[in-house]
Subunit: 226 residues, 2 copies
């Protein structure tokens, strides 16, 4: 695949105008790593970010006794190392090719220069990422709506039981932590809480939640939210 | 809540250094909309993007016969209108406050000037969005791993049956379309295909998939992937 066609297929750059794709093609290094080759090591300064074009790359940490803990495996189209590079941190883990892999490397300094000359590139990329986040949020909503309301109902009833059946509850953890506990994201949790309030099951005010209809919550908890 | 504290709580700006938060505070307009107030209308030029601080905002379209189709409801911390503004499009829908809502408005031109002066702001925001995408991807993987492998197995067996039981299949849709059909994202679908290949169930090459172990696929389809 030519460099330009390959770039156009990277979701991070999806829908960028042709001139911006060409600018990116000018600064990247087209690299091939053999199976087992180290791409970067933990603690190294992030001089740029990577996108897998072909093959598979694992990002991992080594425990004190030398055991490998794989954090993530990246395949075609997926960027890696971009979070530390964008936020000015060193690489927090190692990266290694799991098979012969073609990878594009974008040097940070050249990328920053591109953005200085042409802020529209940064705006477009922010737009692309926002759009993907929006799509992912909708999917998480969708996937979560099967089970999370039931789990949340069970959790609220559990809190109430701990307070000897009082309907007046106060969350001792943040909504982000509660979302994690229930296996969803804060945005989805907020929507579920708002829906429960609209249905008259609960009343919410910040971290305070009042149970209005314990029987329906109980049914929700038992049905698993279906 | 003071403007600076409110900004620091917006996930889009999570972890930005104090000076960049202050730069953003300088350009925003702190607005309150009454219940039912129109924030923007479909077709309008996007002069800037918004973040809900308090309240709830619905984004909707009107069908030919005037019926309202709600696309999304945004709550505290969530940006809206940023995708068209970043990508230079007009607003594709209407936005209206569902209750009295406090909203921060970030004018596009001022935001572009900030990025020109200080590309680190754009890089940091790209880093924040990338990090959230990474987290969301992991969660979708997690949520999808319950049911998607089973659904995928059922789909492959269905394709094979259509070809009179031939194990040699060719997808007539893209992987992105197949991911949507199965209720997941392409990244997760790729990981599931790679795992099935590693387990010896299938062999993949681009859009061609060869079934190697139909019996195990059948079991997977029947168990729902659990």
């Amino acid at each position: 695949m030519t460099i330009l066609r390959a770039i156009a297929h990277i979701p991070l750059f999806e829908g960028l105008p042709a001139d911006q794709l060409e600018d990116l093609a000018m600064i990247l290094a087209d690299q091939v790593f053999r199976r087992g080759a180290v791409i970067f090591s933990e603690g190294e300064e992030g001089k740029g970010f990577y996108v897998v074009i072909q093959g598979r790359v694992k990002v991992y940490k080594l425990s004190a006794d030398g055991k490998e803990q794989i954090l993530h495996i990246f395949g075609p189209g997926e960027p890696f190392g971009e979070v530390p590079v964008f936020t000015g941190q060193n690489f927090p883990a190692h990266a290694e090719a799991m098979e012969e892999s073609r990878v594009f490397f974008f040097p940070k300094q050249s990328f920053v220069n591109l953005i200085k000359q042409n802020p529209a590139l940064a705006l477009n990329m922010l737009g692309i990422l926002s759009k993907r986040l929006r799509r992912f949020t909708a999917l998480i909503d969708d996937l979560s709506l099967k089970e999370v309301p039931g789990r949340l109902a069970a959790y609220l009833l559990y809190l109430s039981k701990q307070k000897k059946g009082s309907p007046d509850l106060e969350l001792s953890i943040t909504k982000a932590q509660l979302a994690g506990l229930l296996g969803t994201i804060p945005e989805t949790l907020s929507r579920i809480l708002a829906k429960m309030a609209a249905q008259g099951l609960i009343e919410t005010q910040g971290r305070r939640i009042k149970i209005l209809d314990g029987r329906s919550l109980q049914e929700l908890a038992e049905s698993g939210g279906r």
